[in-house]
């Protein structure tokens, strides 16, 4: 049995952007949005690498990352702790992510800007619900 529970999968559909925090070798954190966190298996996820940015450079210096996800079904948020394993620029994970990134780009008006360069595979070292960050759905008032 892996670290990621089945109930986290809807949070990985790319409906609501996720966030990733990385840290450089000199100890400077970096916070960024990310289009997609892809479920590879119960112990691994893939992050979309779309730009040659600080997140990518930090991962090369320090393999650790923190990711925040939210389910568009339950609106529960999750924290993941990750460790970088490898980048893939072809293969089944890359192909599916590339297709999904194109779909996301089309929906959010970023076609031509969002382009998958690599699927960065990470091992999940911890997955926990972000307790205290969300108000339960039952307590949110409907509009009058």
């Amino acid at each position: 049995m892996g670290i990621l529970p089945d109930e986290i999968k809807p949070a990985m559909q790319g409906v609501i952007p996720s966030h990733v925090v990385t840290c450089s070798r000199d100890g400077t954190p970096n916070a960024s949005a990310i289009s997609q966190v892809y479920y590879v298996d119960a112990d691994h996820v893939a992050l979309s690498h779309q730009f040659f940015n600080k997140t990518k450079r930090n991962i090369e210096e320090n393999p650790r990352a923190a990711v925040w996800l939210i389910s568009p079904e339950t609106f529960e948020a999750w924290d993941l702790e990750l460790e970088f394993v490898r980048s893939e620029t072809s293969g089944p994970v890359f192909d599916v992510m590339e297709m999904q990134i194109e779909a996301i780009a089309s929906i959010v008006g970023m076609k031509g800007i969002f382009k998958l360069r690599a699927a960065d595979i990470f091992r999940v070292t911890a997955a926990t619900k972000a307790v205290g960050e969300r108000i339960p759905l039952t307590e949110i008032r409907a509009p009058r």
């Binding site: 940015n53 972000a130 205290g132 759905l137």
Partner: protein, 158 residues
């Protein structure tokens, strides 16, 4: 001037923006939390962000230990910026700050609907943001970066 927050970034920080905080511990393990609301001080370098108390303990531990903080701020349009700086102080949020946060959630809902999110997603996404009890975390910005997706992302603005 280095760390001086540009006008547009102040507008975004004070507007219907999504705010994420990044810190790290002594082993360089990063941590994340969402903030609900931010206030830029008159010096245009000092910023206070508001975090639910239940999510603040790890951040405050990291900040007490090494002081390093990154704050990402983005609009529904994908316009985004990042501030990097050094921790100054923290305190429980007060009534005025809680009122600011309540207004922020309402403006986030309006902007999400305007951006085309269906009500079934926009309302729980925004009104589900917990904010009380909260902690006001103040830091001094030292660098401001453009982070809107595209070729200019990562450009140092200040």
């Amino acid at each position: 001037m280095r760390g001086m927050i540009p006008d547009r970034v102040v507008e975004v920080l004070h507007g219907p923006s999504w705010i994420q905080i990044g810190t790290r511990d002594e082993a360089l393990q990063p941590a994340h939390a969402m903030a609900v609301g931010a206030a830029v001080h008159h010096d245009r370098r000092t910023v206070t962000v508001f975090v639910p108390t239940a999510r603040a303990s790890r951040l405050l531990r990291d900040l007490a230990s090494n002081g390093r903080i990154a704050v990402g701020v983005s609009l529904a349009s994908h316009e985004a910026y990042q501030l990097k700086g050094t921790y100054v102080s923290s305190k429980p949020t007060d009534d005025a700050e809680r009122a600011h946060q309540e207004a922020r959630r309402n403006s986030l809902l309006a902007s999400a609907l305007e951006a085309g999110y269906p009500e079934a997603i926009a309302r729980p996404l925004t009104m589900g943001l917990a904010y009380t009890p909260g902690v006001a975390i103040t830091f001094r910005a030292e660098e401001v970066f453009l982070q809107t997706p595209g070729p200019g992302a990562g450009t140092l603005l200040s």
